[in-house]
Amino acid sequence: MRVLIVGEVPFVDTLAGLCLAKNHKVDLFVADDLEGQETLDKMVRAASRCQIAIESLNDSRESKQWLVEGIEANISDEAILLVSALAASATEVASWTERPARVAGYGLLPPIAVTGLVEFAPALQTDFDTAARARRFWEELGFSVVRVPDGTGLVRPRMVCGLINETVQTMTAHNLSAEAADSAVQLGLNHPRGPLSWADEIGLDVVVGTLEGLWRAWGDERYHPAPLLRQKVYAGHLGRKAGRGFYDYDANAPRSSAS
């Protein structure tokens, strides 16, 4: 099968690796590179060839809409579009497209290869054939598919972004270092990883995008991104993919970031 994968690291490169391992032909584009016209043209050509297009861009609703519209306008009538339901629900994303029936939602959270479960969320508009093809695709990649109701952030991204947001607010209120806050949560609550180091893996822009999506959906202050999260995004300290987030990644071992 020919698969187009577009969005942000580490989601898209991990997915591309899993697809290649199953002998799919993969066209991979990292969202940042699409600012160049030449790359954009290449992406459009790749879109017209693919049978399955996967989108994973969650730093904001605006950029997600721009990308989804760009992909959907160029894929063939037979192709289906799998959209990441973090910064917006699959149903909202489908509403931006010409043919919403062929759009289905999914949710993954790094570390992707380790967790082995994909959250599968058909949009309200998704037709039976699309849902069946999407489910089969995830299963053939090696995921256990867990059907969840469509909604911004689905289950795990919403839970984990909530944990991250509360940890950041607690950390700033107590003037703690990232290490101290992470180790408090790991040693005091037995969580598998510190929420701040997890945020660095996911990407702080994706965490903020998901929280903003939840805020739009529910209007509840709990989803208002902690000011420090936004500050880090403004500064480009987006986490591991940027070399710096709550921790520094320039050296081999993560260290606490100075700010």
């Binding site: 839970m159 609550l189 969580h191």
Partner: protein
Amino acid sequence: MPSATMIAIVGAGELGVEIAQAVALGGWPVVLHDTDESALRRAVGRISRRLEKAARLGRLSAQEARRARRVFTLSSDLAACAPAGLVIEAIQDRMGLKGALFQALDALVSPDAILATSTNTLSVTRLAAPTRHPQRVIGLHFPRPAHVMRLVEVVRTPTTRQDILDQAMLLVRGFAKTPLLVDDTPGLIVNRVAQAYFSEALRLLDGGGLDEATVDRLLEAAGFPMGPFRLMDFLGVDRVLEMTESLYEATFHVPRYRPQPRLQRLVEAGRIGRGNPLGGFFPAPPKDGS
């Protein structure tokens, strides 16, 4: 803190017993006090069984377990706590009861001794204020189960003296725990993040189309030892509700700490989890041998 320091635990309920067991690993003599003598006898039985089990599982050496069992003195007389260099109270989480106890302890122990409350909901500052030496009053929050979890939050009030905090940090390290110094604020660190885990899971149910087992399955697959609903059953649905209620009150009603009617209904129905035959979110597991 001299090496011969005695540590007193006041209250032999579940939390007091867990703390007593944790503290016993430090090697200091421990006095466990409760006005109820039968509670004290049960406490010793429970600690011995748990230490044996820990030794069997290789978490402790047989020698450590033997030594930990030997450090205990039991007393139903509060006066037995008088020589202690550190007193940790673990009685019911009611301001009136704890306040009266702190006044009594304040008059009983030496002015250099540290008075610590294990509360995770009440203001340590308010407990300290009426005592004669508020500068030696701290909080020691042991996340549950206290004999298992490795973190202890050491709570500083605006009046706590720095050398008292330094001593407390050293003692906590002596219990083989990791101390974290925090300010006296509602929920400290651990309970705020814990409530985020529970309340987000409960709010997921409000969206419809999801059940508790699916949420737990997804989070356990992501590495959490227990999904939020199984964990609430384990800790006690009633205790989780109490924790959120007190956090909500203490923060003057920050909306995200608002308690959930869903929790309250379960508690009203008697489905409080922690082995209760009525179950909690999930039915109670069948008892061994039945």
